[in-house]
Amino acid sequence: MKMRRTAAAGAVVLALGLTATACGGESGSAGDKPAGGGYSHDYTAAKNVKIDSATLKRAQKRGKLIIGVKADQPFLGYQDPSTKKYSGFDIEIAKMVAADLGFSTNQIEFHTINSNVRETTISRHAVDYYVGTYTINNERKKQVGFAGPYYTAGADLLVRKDDKSITGPNSLRGKNVCSITGSTPLQEIKKPQYGAHTQESDKYSDCVQKVLDGQADALTTDDAILKGYAAQRPDKLRVVDKPFTKEPYGVGMDKNDKALRDAITKALEHHIENNDYKTAYTNTLGKSGSKYVAPQTPLPRY
């Protein structure tokens, strides 16, 4: 009993100590630099934007734009755990679009939304729009509206550097492949022709760790995402570099808000044409080794 009390007292001291010491300490981001982000640019917000969109009116009323993004994709949508700041290519795209809708960077609230709850949050207006490696496809168009594509990625494989046995999707027979619940490459790799065992997780970073641990042999998702992880750990991981699908990325939003969809499409075109897009690209995705391909304008409308 006495031992227990001492243990409890020690526990309290530990907890208090940890929280008390929270103030102070070194500033800046913890860990290796760069871990997958850092670039940030502000875009001039348009003034007096009048668009007949229910979503936008809600945002204007609250004076804040809520954008759903990813937090665990280096160079795309990445949140620094120590500064809580988001950065990456998708974040830049989100900010460009926000600027044309009349919101400056400090009027944006980013929310981390994992892949498995994207449709749930978008269709129920928990976010105004969503920019996070979101592949446009017909199945999803039944639930959300898409503007874009603003980038085209392709599903690829991330493997351990010393693992030479995996050369492409056709060499996955009997291997463990990890991906995200609800992602398109996962649905592709589940097809019986590949004969792979699949594992599902709700975070990409968890899959990366599984590949490193040997619980999975490969992580499949879009090459743009994978290259970010490979760039973080160049001596442990490599990308197979044989894309086997086309993943056009779009900005997701309420399916019924056509006015917003058109406005976002226009905003994307505007920033592609004025070279904001290219600058953002070279400073984010370009750093992890993805080649720049200019997106075709005008973007499709529906």
């Binding site: 243990a7 290796d32 120590s82 760790q209």
Partner: protein, 313 residues
């Protein structure tokens, strides 16, 4: 260890020697397991200074602190609400009116049967769907979904605990109270509930430990509590060319264990204090809340036999 001494004789010289040998072997075995784990931690490079240096950064510390505070905030609100709901449901289940009793029973049974994770998720989706009607913004839907989910489940469990407690109050007390001319509500609020709460306090607190542990389920709806912050750090920080899953899990884990142990210690302390008091109503054994056997044995509440507290979720 009252049971232990009955199981074996006071050791003689030979047994003493043998036990000493077993102790040494057992001790070595336990130490060997620990040493092996330590060795593996070392071999996989978990003790590299770079990996632990991340905790020297103000940002990391702040996010751990914020995580702890958020977790405690959710816990505090959920604890208060679940106790309130627990009292309400317990009284409703003992009501004289059949429909009220049935409704309460159905409610309790439903929310105890469904995994908390699913309840939280369902409440969250419902809240998102009706977000504007409820006037919520930011991470309010997440917060309330987590709190309400915890409240619904733990409230149902607390209701069963309190009901067992109310049933454990000797019948004579109730009869005496009625004989004095007290009304039904008065009997409940002034005679039965205070004694029930007293008898069941350790069990109630142990269920609160479960509530505290379950706040970690907020990860499923991306609510930024302690475990979520931990997972973000583990996934996004790279130190010394490697991820920091293990150091982060060790640190976050110790914080959770510390918080829960502190709460458990409180339950134990109350239990010991309660045992010294002479009221004729036994105090439930805190360590064994999980099991109905001990519970019923202590409070002699046969009626609660079927429905005693749930094991930690």
């Amino acid at each position: 260890m009252s049971g232990a001494s009955v199981l074996y004789d006071v050791p003689g010289p030979k047994t003493k020697a043998r036990n000493r040998l077993y102790s040494v072997i057992g001790g070595i075995a336990v130490l060997a397991v620990l040493a092996y784990l330590g060795l593996r931690l070392f071999q996989t490079g978990q003790f590299e200074p770079a990996k632990w240096n991340i905790f020297n950064y103000a940002g990391v510390r702040n996010s751990i602190r914020d995580g702890v505070l958020t977790t405690l905030k959710v816990f505090a609100v959920a604890a208060v609400l679940s106790l309130a709901l627990g009292v309400l449901l317990a009284v409703a289940r003992l009501s004289d009116h059949k429909p009220v009793r049935w409704l309460a029973t159905g409610f309790v049974e439903l929310f105890r049967a469904v995994p908390l994770l699913i309840t939280i998720y369902a409440v969250w989706v419902l809240m998102l769907s009706n977000k504007d009607a409820l006037g919520m913004s930011g991470d309010a839907p997440q917060f309330w979904a987590l709190v309400l989910g915890l409240t619904l489940y733990n409230g149902s469990v607390q209701a069963e605990v309190l009901r067992a407690g109310i049933n454990s109050v000797p019948k004579g007390q109730r009869e005496a109270a009625y004989a004095l001319g007290l009304r039904k509500t008065q009997v409940m609020t002034t005679v039965l509930i205070p004694q029930a709460v007293r008898a069941m306090l350790p069990t109630v607190i142990s269920q609160l430990v479960v509530t505290l542990k379950d706040t970690s389920l907020g990860y499923i709806i991306t609510y930024e509590e302690l475990l979520y912050s931990g997972r973000l750090m583990a996934g996004n920080i790279i130190a010394g060319g490697d991820s920091v899953y293990i150091p982060v899990i060790i640190v976050i884990g110790s914080i959770y264990v510390a918080m829960c142990l502190a709460l458990s210690a409180l339950a134990n302390w109350i239990e010991r204090r309660g045992r010294r008091a002479k009221t004729g109503i036994g105090v439930a054994e805190a360590g064994d809340v999980a099991n109905a056997g001990a519970l019923t044995a202590v409070v002699a509440a046969e009626a609660a036999a079927d429905t005693a507290t749930d094991t930690g979720n």
